[in-house]
Subunit: 363 residues, 2 copies
């Protein structure tokens, strides 16, 4: 099987293109630049599925007037350390950063800030938000619910999203530990890749449309569902389901957003649920001022030692030993900052189509 | 294979015995009763490994003067919404509830409270703490790091505990959703059970002392390690490791407690690490006042609908459909509140030995 063909683009070019596309739908310039930055950080960090590869979906939703380009993002309820934010159906790439700012401002003021968000849309990579917190000497937490694609353990239908969680801890001399993970057994991108290559997928990733375990990526795509982290009962699949439920409950019922099977579709190709139980998609952000708990220098020295200790672990046979969370993304970023962003041809084709429809030059 | 033989005891009898044992080591009566209650709630909820079955370990540590019976539990740093608590090497069953109270008091005052704890010991089931938060119309979060027993993905040695996380959400007419889970693929109790029955364990639970996958429970017990949720790289084992790391970092470096491979041993049978990198074991508690985010009645109605929606999911073949997190524990509690607590004979023997050494009557 040959590798997938890619073309390389400078990050700046992609970011500029995204920003201009958003602006062409009347998104204010500052918001468009912010949204484009969130996408670019994803591409830089090697999370290809959540970067400019998603511009075509945002483009479709904006074109179809399903996203509000000029939202009035507002706090609908608050306390000194918490807030509930209504995103007014704006781009998640704009609503997310604004809500995260509110959490970080509250952390500066009273030690921590916790913000539940409703009426938003897909917000990019969860990791973006916790990297922002690091810049302010804070420990951030970010979660979002997403369009349904995974089954709860022992269910035979799509009822939960990939529901990611992220958190980051700063080192002193070492790079930060950055956790950013979906709560499904595997990223949907890996199933897409198997589809593209016409290859089977491992047992434990998916079920078919009757709820039976399958190794056929088409059976998953064709009305089946992904499995939660842990995959089966015997291996803790109920725990992955619990985590996904926890994130769904914080993002949905706590904020007043939709949840579970009622989350909005992310692309025009998917149909929305039969009814709404809340407003839009939901997020949940936390920020904790490190100094409110411990001397930041002491924390950073402990994190350094944590990293050094885990790097020095005896490796399992056939491996180089444990990775530190965030290592692969940081390594991708080091390469891509200078070498540029590789895009697979279907993504390039999507971007060309956007260019053709909007008149914004891509290449 | 025959079932394991058990004897049934009334909850009150076990709780009274635990309390008197703690008091015999000069633990103040109020603290002893609290600690005994935490153990009893675990037994009631069917989490047999964390209830009175652990009294023998606490007993051993108290007898060996490795736990301070009369700790001066103090706040060493705080902000309006956060605190760092030093447990003065007290029983985790006492330090945990006190620190959780501080988190809940802060939530009442400023919307949320987040408390990192150092210099504590094992604190019982994480679920206990979030059930307390429900009583105050709050959403609680509880985490602890624990004695090392699991390997990080691609590591060949014990470097992390089972590091559980718990969170609970109240329903209106439905019972609450209670998430309480270790971040290993399986509970250690299941490996112990396989050892006792001399049966193999499924692939994905453990590695041997050289880091190779094993299905022999003896190979795990004999210097091997448990695997994180997800088990292998292909099934997301790095995510279980990330979750465990997240919990370890919040409980250890953030509070100033020990972390990772440096956590203290839980029983006299295990040796402590070569050195300390902090003080005792660590916990992390969060509490959020529901009213600070949304009308509590609205949240509860959403949680009811969430529960009803997931209960109504199409079941996977051969199953009764998805469970709601907390269902098995609540069902156990309903039975055990009237029928009593079944204890396996090795636990009964341990309790008889405690009775014989302390002179406190057990049966």
């Amino acid at each position: 099987m040959a590798d997938i063909e890619t073309s390389i683009f400078p990050r700046e070019q992609l970011q500029e293109f995204s920003s201009r596309v958003f602006q062409s739908f009347d998104v204010p310039r500052q918001d468009a630049e912010l949204a484009a930055e969130v996408l670019a950080i994803s591409d830089l960090r090697g999370i290809d599925t959540h970067g400019i590869a998603r511009l075509f979906s945002y483009f479709g939703l904006l074109k179809d007037s399903r996203i509000n380009p000029r939202p009035n993002i507002s706090i609908v309820r608050e306390s000194p350390s918490t807030a509930t934010v209504d995103g007014d159906n704006g781009l998640g790439l704009v609503v997310g950063p604004r809500a995260n700012d509110i959490a970080m401002d509250k952390a500066d003021a009273v030690g921590s800030g916790w913000v539940a968000v409703r009426n938003s849309n897909h917000y990019g990579i969860a990791g973006y938000y916790v990297l922002e917190a690091l810049k302010r000497e804070q420990i951030g937490m970010a979660m979002t619910n997403t369009t349904r694609i995974a089954a709860p353990l022992w269910g035979a239908e799509r009822m939960l999203g990939t529901n990611p969680i992220a958190m980051a801890f700063p080192g002193k001399d070492e790079p930060p530990i950055v956790i950013d993970m979906a709560t499904t057994a595997v990223a949907y991108g890996k199933i897409e890749m198997a589809l593209r290559k016409d290859e089977p997928i491992p047992d434990g990733w998916a079920i078919d449309n009757e709820g039976r375990p399958t190794t056929d990526p088409k059976a998953m795509a064709d009305g089946g569902a992904m499995l939660p982290l842990g995959s089966q009962r015997e291996r803790g699949g109920h725990k992955g389901y619990c985590l996904s439920a926890m994130i769904d409950l914080l993002c949905g019922p706590l904020s007043g957003a939709n949840w579970g099977p009622f989350t909005p579709a992310f692309t025009l190709g998917h149909s929305n649920p039969d009814r709404w139980v809340g407003k839009g998609l939901g997020h949940f952000f936390g920020a904790m001022k490190i100094e409110a708990f411990i001397d930041p220098d002491e924390l950073k020295r402990s994190v350094d030692l944590w990293i050094q200790t885990f790097r020095a672990a005896q490796p399992a046979p056939g491996t180089d030993g444990p990775l530190i969370p965030g290592d692969p993304e940081r390594e991708a970023e080091e390469i891509r900052r200078t070498a540029g962003i590789p895009l697979i041809m279907p993504v390039v084709e999507d971007l060309r189509q956007i260019a053709s429809e909007t008149g914004i030059p891509f290449e």
